[in-house]
Symmetry: D2
Subunit: 324 residues, 4 copies
Amino acid sequence: MHAQSRIPVAVLGATGMVGQRFIELLRDHPWFELVALAASDRHEGRAYAEVAKWRLPGSEMPISAATLPVVACQPEALPADVKIAFSALPTEVAGEVEAHAAAIAQQRKQRGWPGSIITNANCSATPLVMALKPLQQAFGLRKVMVTTLQAISGAGYPGLPSYDILDNAIPYIGGEEQKVESETRKMLGTWEEGQGFTDAPLVVSAQCNRVATREGHLECASIELASDASPEEIIAAWQNYRPEPQRLKLPSAPEQALIYRTEPDRPQTLLDRDAGHGMSVTMGRLRRCPILSYKFVLLGHNTIRGAAGGSILNAELCVSKGLI
Amino acid sequence: MHAQSRIPVAVLGATGMVGQRFIELLRDHPWFELVALAASDRHEGRAYAEVAKWRLPGSEMPISAATLPVVACQPEALPADVKIAFSALPTEVAGEVEAHAAAIAQQRKQRGWPGSIITNANCSATPLVMALKPLQQAFGLRKVMVTTLQAISGAGYPGLPSYDILDNAIPYIGGEEQKVESETRKMLGTWEEGQGFTDAPLVVSAQCNRVATREGHLECASIELASDASPEEIIAAWQNYRPEPQRLKLPSAPEQALIYRTEPDRPQTLLDRDAGHGMSVTMGRLRRCPILSYKFVLLGHNTIRGAAGGSILNAELCVSKGLI
Amino acid sequence: MHAQSRIPVAVLGATGMVGQRFIELLRDHPWFELVALAASDRHEGRAYAEVAKWRLPGSEMPISAATLPVVACQPEALPADVKIAFSALPTEVAGEVEAHAAAIAQQRKQRGWPGSIITNANCSATPLVMALKPLQQAFGLRKVMVTTLQAISGAGYPGLPSYDILDNAIPYIGGEEQKVESETRKMLGTWEEGQGFTDAPLVVSAQCNRVATREGHLECASIELASDASPEEIIAAWQNYRPEPQRLKLPSAPEQALIYRTEPDRPQTLLDRDAGHGMSVTMGRLRRCPILSYKFVLLGHNTIRGAAGGSILNAELCVSKGLI
Amino acid sequence: MHAQSRIPVAVLGATGMVGQRFIELLRDHPWFELVALAASDRHEGRAYAEVAKWRLPGSEMPISAATLPVVACQPEALPADVKIAFSALPTEVAGEVEAHAAAIAQQRKQRGWPGSIITNANCSATPLVMALKPLQQAFGLRKVMVTTLQAISGAGYPGLPSYDILDNAIPYIGGEEQKVESETRKMLGTWEEGQGFTDAPLVVSAQCNRVATREGHLECASIELASDASPEEIIAAWQNYRPEPQRLKLPSAPEQALIYRTEPDRPQTLLDRDAGHGMSVTMGRLRRCPILSYKFVLLGHNTIRGAAGGSILNAELCVSKGLI
């Protein structure tokens, strides 16, 4: 795909934490060209660099983004040639705008517009599902008990006040446990034309905590398999997992979707969140659980794999399959 | 009990984190008088203030402790009138010294000495057991799944390097999960003269994490009861729990052994660890678990309730029952 | 002073960080009785417990405050018998309300009302001035260079986003350096009836940083004295300092206004901020400066001595002198 | 320079924090090939991967290092073909070993060996000197007052216990202030064959603090120039600074040695420490100082520019000038 033929894309909610991750990950993307940034109405018409402060450590605001004029967060405000709109909108406003966007997309489609809205799945459910998927396929999965230790970036920006979290752990994230439970069942479920989604026949129980880490959701899982498996078989299922993004060698697909570390104290949030440029999920500490079958620890980067990077990979998959 | 008749006590491992908590909690204790501090051999004979740096925020080294000469960490080095030796020794040296101490105590007993060694239970298992005990009594208890978020002080001093934990969560604490599992069964079990301890018929599965908090172990538990109970009954069991220390109004017993908070985001490590001067255990977020019966969150102060304060309360109980 | 004759007081800005400190410090105050809490208009008429979440670790919302109805943050909304209104308003709204309040107070005074508004000085300048005052008196003071390491609570609540400060230090606090420079000169200056304030003839240069501490502003100062003094004389000047609050034994006055610690690594934010219940200022590390005369480190609790506690002490001083 | 002709180099103190930075930065270095790792005697003969745990976030132990056998930290233990030994030894052991190494090097030189030992300058003085050098050249420099906010990695590993620094700032780093003062004068001074080093005629006063950041030393400086300069001239002096490493385009030289940021709140430790891959020093907040001429903030990465990266750049400079 030539640079001149890159697909024009937009980011909705471009000033937030996830919005900035989208911008960073789309810098020099081989297939997508960022042509529009949508944010709060009050910023409309001003250059992105004027309304947004870059907050990602270790990088600068890409110049190509800095000079883009901000448009309103309404699909009709996007340039007509935009084919993909990535949504980084916070949950509380996402519903309305995304529904609206879908409606617009529908209208445009009726006039021949092939645009799409790509939204994120829950940032805790995503790495959990990645760890579970090959086990579900190989051994069947009945129950999942998971306790999360989630990073502050998951709360967006300004998000969590520092006074709330320094020297603290908070065993509550509004609505998160329900999302982890329902989205895990949904993503491990099936989808059929005409029938829509069917949840996986799976019981999920989640407890979600906020801890003082910047990025990376660590999760302690305990699972019940449908048929028994040895630890070696489980680790092999993870290590041999080659889902489509890897098989298709999509630009954002890490070499290994899943990594299993054998050290007794890994994965750790700080040390493993950037594995595969933040796109791999890392597991470790697999051992028998006296109550369910096995317990283990998993870790995923919440604003990359669990949000912006995951959405971009989804878009790449759609493009490679001709869906967009 | 008059001040002049206070019971002479000693602290073994007096320079460490838990040792300092003992010293702080024994300052002005109505029943016990701290008369000896034992620490590493190399400090022998020097004043405590010379060999130890006070590390507890918000307090100063008690003057009475500062001037005490440090004795070797061997029971025979303790003054002969010491009736209770509180052990704050780290696990790796505790075994030998404590066994030795018990032997000495045995010998002294044979010559009529009524001295005792008081050791700590595991600092994560202790608050868990406190939360479970009234439920076990009222409804029976079959399974306990628990994931902990433990404070850095649990690793002692110097303990955890700051480079390991700042912006990190570590899903591993050596030996801790086994201890939580076995000590929980043991403490919820029974003891009979001649038979010793019998574990409770209970399955426990623990996952232990270290997070960047100073004090306070937060634990996410999921439990299976033997007979069903409503949330109201469970909360009532906690709130009506009046174990012996409360009934006897022991000096270190908090007014409420167990506190249940109704806010959706409590207990929090920072906000609740000092409840009851660090001696109460706080619960919250009781809700049905889709896999076991219920899930909830609990929190205990690891170096107070889970260590020094718990041991002092045990000593008070022994004294009040004439065992010491 | 009998409880029934306690002076009725109010807190303006009662839901914020400093507002809560006022409420905590006024709980059981021997002279003052908290009778009114003023906050944002939108909370008007509701009980304080309904509109405010208690955020101070280690304490609970006092029951007497919990049931008080919130009034609007306008002086005329306060009960007529309120004699002192403590302002905990953030700078950006304080100006207008406080000016308004002063006007109201003026009017009421004209009708015989003896009410007063007590506002805070800057929370970094306050401990600095306390450390400098005895040196200015004894040796004269010409220059002060100060670099601060300020706690996150200084930014109020929600204040500093956690994503901004975890694993970070920020060398900028809007307007703070100017305030430290001007308020230090003002507080070390003189006040004369009819002439108002005259700044001390002193050059102050401040650099202000935010660091990841909860409470306590640490300050590295370098000063030029007008006449030379030995380190012993300087330390003696601090240790012998007995300002009026101590001489009058005011309820909120700590035993020692100033503490000098001789350990090489003190004061430390965590270990010394609560000295004198947060009302003492701690100094340490006095040594010659190759550029000015001396350098040293000082520390004060920003929301207690530097804000709520300092204001209450000022009010006590006014009352004891018959000014209120 | 071809890969086969890369210069064989060794790292002394290879298991520590700075040692690991050396290993990371030497991975794929175009001129140097890491052939030996020296560490504590007790590790001698074992593979590096067996004795060292990799602690740098975001990277893995390079495979080429993992398999190297560890040799004793004595120069005669190094392979004979090693031309450069980078020392990452902690101060307390460095003196002896480095002196020994220098002696060995001397002996080898006498037999025709061209080996060299490269040691680090102080990690706080290095970025300070970089910021000051162009000002000294352009305007003359008389006085430097500096207060540092230093990262925990500066204390090595295990270094600072987490219990000492979480929610704390420590205004003391043993010996550091003297080093900053003397090394700054030395590095800004002159060296002449036969005469050795002559300190710059400069007064330096330093106050050093430890704060809870992982990497990056932030420094608040106030300076007195010999001749006046406008802010624009100072900033131009920084921006136009092209020292030899940049002119020679050395492999480790960042494009810009010095970066000046115009935002009011930069540099920040987290956001700017990785500028130029950790090799640039970032300045900001230049403004007049009421006491000396100017004040400003500077930031350098302590284990890269201030240690391993700086040493490698020095070695590159020596190689490019034919000194090694």
